[in-house]
Amino acid sequence: MTETTENPQTAATAPAAQRGLIPLPLATARALLLAGGILTTASTFLRWTWTSDFPGDLTVNGYPGGLQVLTLIAGIITALFAVSTYGVRGLGWLLPARNNAPLVLTALSGFAVTWYTVISIAAELGGIVNWEPGTYIAAVASLLPVIGALAFPQDATDSTKEALKAYIAKADHVPAPQATAPWIQRLAITIVAALGLTVFAYGIDAEDELFIGFLIVVVFTAWALQTAGLFDRFSRLTADNRSFALAMGFVAAIGFPFTQTNDHYANLGVNILIFGTVALGLNIVVGLAGLLDLGYVAFLGVGAYTAALVSGSEFSKFSGVQFPFWAAALTGAAASLVFGVLIGAPTLRLRGDYLAIVTLGFGEIFRIAVNNMDGVSGPDITNGPNGIPSIPDLSFFGFDFGQNHDIAGFTIGRFANYYLLMVLISALVVTIYRRASDSRIGRSWIAIREDETAATAMGINGFRVKLIAFALGATLAGLAGTVSAHVTYSVVPNPYQFAGAAPPNSAFLLAAVVLGGMGTVSGPFLGAALLYLLPEKLVALQDKSLLAFGIALILLMRFRPEGIIPNRRRQLEFHETGQLDVPDTTTLTDEPAITKAGA
């Protein structure tokens, strides 16, 4: 921020001295923060430009639209935090540690989204003549809270750079919350689940500029809440009410299609869920057992191909055979299991990076083999590059997944049907994951991952438990694959590659696990949602979208190598250890995850 440069570098006073980066009295700073927040909110009710050519139509007085809504929300949040600094009763929970970072970050969120809007109005419509008085008001109003927040006093530091760092640092100590009644805790979880669903539903619908604005607000606000210590508090809350939180996450996930009128978003939703579920399966292998698998997508392929072969498609080699879905799902999972064991048995005796290259090789072998098994250049099984198209829709007890259904006044389209089926399967996979990681075998995985020699010395059969992890991971991917075959109507060899421009491929699956946070349940889902939505929504960048995506991966790893939702123990440890590391068995951050991912 430019205004920070005017910071006068007076000699440091007493070590305990508190002062703001911008020298203003505390009362003024607070007032600026509050007034700025309110003004920003108010400015969205004015028109920001004269023509409806700008997406979202920002020309209506008294009715915010498009990006204005995001500014409005950011303004309200800023104002709320400002009020809470006055010690208003009932809002104290927003700032449990009473630190400055949430104030700065929420102020920045409003500032960034407003200025982003203002600048893109000028850029897209050609010049600042397209600004209206409301635009100027918004631009100035959104700047005020930033100045105000940076004027809040904090411990004196040596340089401006350090002072700025201190302004966005997480509170050192977050006081424990007062005991609350169980029903309040549950209500809070419910509200968070509802909010999560709303945010996700809004984000998935947003396009182009609106999505970028959405990202700005979500990133800054989430960052603010994290620095305020609210995430920690919430994860404790969910840990105390685990089953309830899981159930709420599940409900929120089911609720998603009912918030959508367009089946396209259900389609995105089901793809994200499939991708996320497979990533969770990979998390067993990578996150829990510490085995680096670079060919994991092949197991998804085995499941998908198996399901396609027994689906009754006329293009299948066994076109007369049509298994009911439960049987097809079991067959697909079983086929993946068999492949998992076949690959794992000889190779799991290798260590570390050798395993990585062998799994990578297996992934490539699968893709090439499937591509060649068309009776011309290989045995006639998979129909080669043409794949197996015309996979019929599923049908349970007369409920045809291919048709629209009206449920309680909502129309549930084809993809929403599959989405709901996939929610069930994801819930199953989440349960298996949690059960497994909490079990004796799960602890063996972690022991093996941490120190194989020591674990073996303690009587753990390293090979056996690794094989179980590998096989279980493969089975879950195969299960997800059976659904994906039906969703896309066809299976073809191309998607099952090591690295490509779009999910699913092994590199993206691994990235979803690592980005989200290894060893957690929510991490892979969040990572999957991000990796799926980012390239999808960055169409405005056209052929530069992959470039932006690559840079985003580098930056995310640079600044958050432990993943967005870090495993607690891992976060504490990772400065001491350099090894492939991970989980503890009962992560506290798991529950909200389902909300985010599933919603």
């Binding site: 309200i76 043409n386 052929d543």
Partner: protein, 409 residues
């Protein structure tokens, strides 16, 4: 006390947020200012990454058609715009793009995709929404003629059309020219094991044998491969006098180069996937004498096509129009002209979105106009009626038409 206010505040916040998001969806339907309606034509193709050069050619081919339609007022009172989505050559992404099109009430039809494998996952989505889909490049015969296209043809989806010709025609025409025109007797057949290439090579193979030629050998390469020395040695040893390659120019330009460097001076023959200037630019002198088939009559004999090429260049569009730009232009034109036909039949008014879509499907089926790749019509399977094929040969660093005709056999 404190807890209760907490609850109240949070609920207020939640309700507020929910209400606000509801506000976000103000009417954003197609606006009609000054009496004109704007309809959207969807484009689905790989616009980033590997196949994007060809994919962008499709996007801008459609763009030029839409610009022409708007400029020359092809459909009075209706403006068109392009909505291009990137499928990254992935079936699942292509499918979600298809649902994006069908879910947007301003979209009247779609052009794409580039890859047959992606088309498989999209056809049914368009069919359920009754929206027309015209691919400028899919060549897999089963897309229009069903599984047993060689024996009993049945059309699986009545909303799917293509302006590209099927492998069956092109492969047969090439075999005929290789045997009767070039008098080659021993061919080595290679393909890239993709839907298009493998299909084309397979049909060439059987066609060439039927005419009495010998197949010196067959091989399959992987897309992305760069070293073909082993293949080249095999070809050299087989004594073949022609190499037929089913696939795209990305690999064939390398094969021809390595072939000639190893001293195997026999021509390489391919399909429209390698009929592009890039092929000659990259392979250089090695491309001299190589051949390719392409649909339609040579572009430089049609003035409309020349105008298309000069517009594409003048606008500085990225990508390569050579392969499918012309077919994309014709595909978009077919949709636009169908809209006009529907509007004219409906007393000059556009029916509502769903009705319009299904009527456009019927009107596209009846298409009959001069496009830039030749006459645009569709047969009962949705295949192009343009059965004109041309063989081109690289002469002095440029593609030169050597034979134009129709394949009947």
């Amino acid at each position: 006390m404190r807890q209760r206010s907490l609850v109240i505040l949070t609920s207020v916040l939640t309700t507020g947020a929910l209400t606000l998001t509801a506000c976000g969806s103000r009417d954003s339907g197609s606006k009609s200012d000054s009496g004109s309606t704007t309809l959207t034509i969807g484009v689905d193709a790989p616009l980033s990454g590997e196949n994007s050069t060809t994919g962008l050619g499709i996007q801008y081919g459609v763009q030029i058609a839409v610009d022409d339609a708007n400029k020359n007022n092809w459909v009075p009172g209706v403006k068109f715009k392009v909505k291009a989505l990137d499928d990254k050559a992935q079936p699942a992404t292509g499918q979600s793009n298809a649902t994006a099109f069908t879910g947007d009430s301003s979209v009247v039809g779609a052009v794409g995709p580039l890859n047959s494998g992606v088309a498989l996952s999209m056809q049914k989505v368009f069919a359920s929404a009754n929206m027309v889909e015209i691919s400028p490049s899919n060549t897999d015969p089963s897309l229009t003629q069903g599984k047993n296209w060689a024996t009993t043809k049945t059309r699986p989806y009545k909303t799917y059309f293509r302006t590209a010709t099927t492998d069956a025609l092109q492969g047969g025409f090439a075999a005929d020219y290789a045997f009767n025109g070039l008098k080659k007797k021993k061919a080595y057949v290679v393909d890239d094991k993709q839907t298009y290439g493998a299909g084309l090579a397979g049909i060439f193979n059987s066609g060439f044998k039927k005419l009495g030629g010998t197949i010196a050998g067959t091989d399959h390469v992987n897309t992305g491969d760069t070293d073909f020395s082993s293949l080249v040695t095999k070809i050299k040893n087989s004594g073949a006098d022609l190499v037929y390659y089913g696939g795209q120019y990305d690999e064939s330009e390398k094969i021809t180069k390595q072939l000639k460097a190893a001293g195997v001076k026999i021509p390489l023959f391919g399909g429209d996937g390698m009929y592009a200037t890039t092929y000659i630019q990259t392979a250089g002198k090695a491309a001299e004498g190589d051949l390719a088939t392409s649909v339609g009559v040579p572009v430089d004999t049609l003035p409309a096509a020349k105008a298309f090429v000069s517009t594409y260049k003048a606008k500085g569009y990225k990508g390569d129009y050579g392969a499918y730009g012309g077919y994309s232009y014709d595909a978009a034109s077919a949709i636009i002209k169908a809209v006009k036909a529907v509007k004219d039949a409906n007393d000059g008014k556009l029916p509502d979105s769903n009705d319009l879509r299904s009527k456009v499907v019927d009107a596209v089926q009846k298409s009959d106009f001069e496009g830039i790749t030749g006459k645009v019509t569709f047969d009962q399977y949705g295949d192009t009626g343009n059965k004109q094929l041309t063989v081109y040969q690289v002469t002095n660093g440029a593609w030169k038409a050597v034979k134009t005709g129709t394949f009947t056999g």
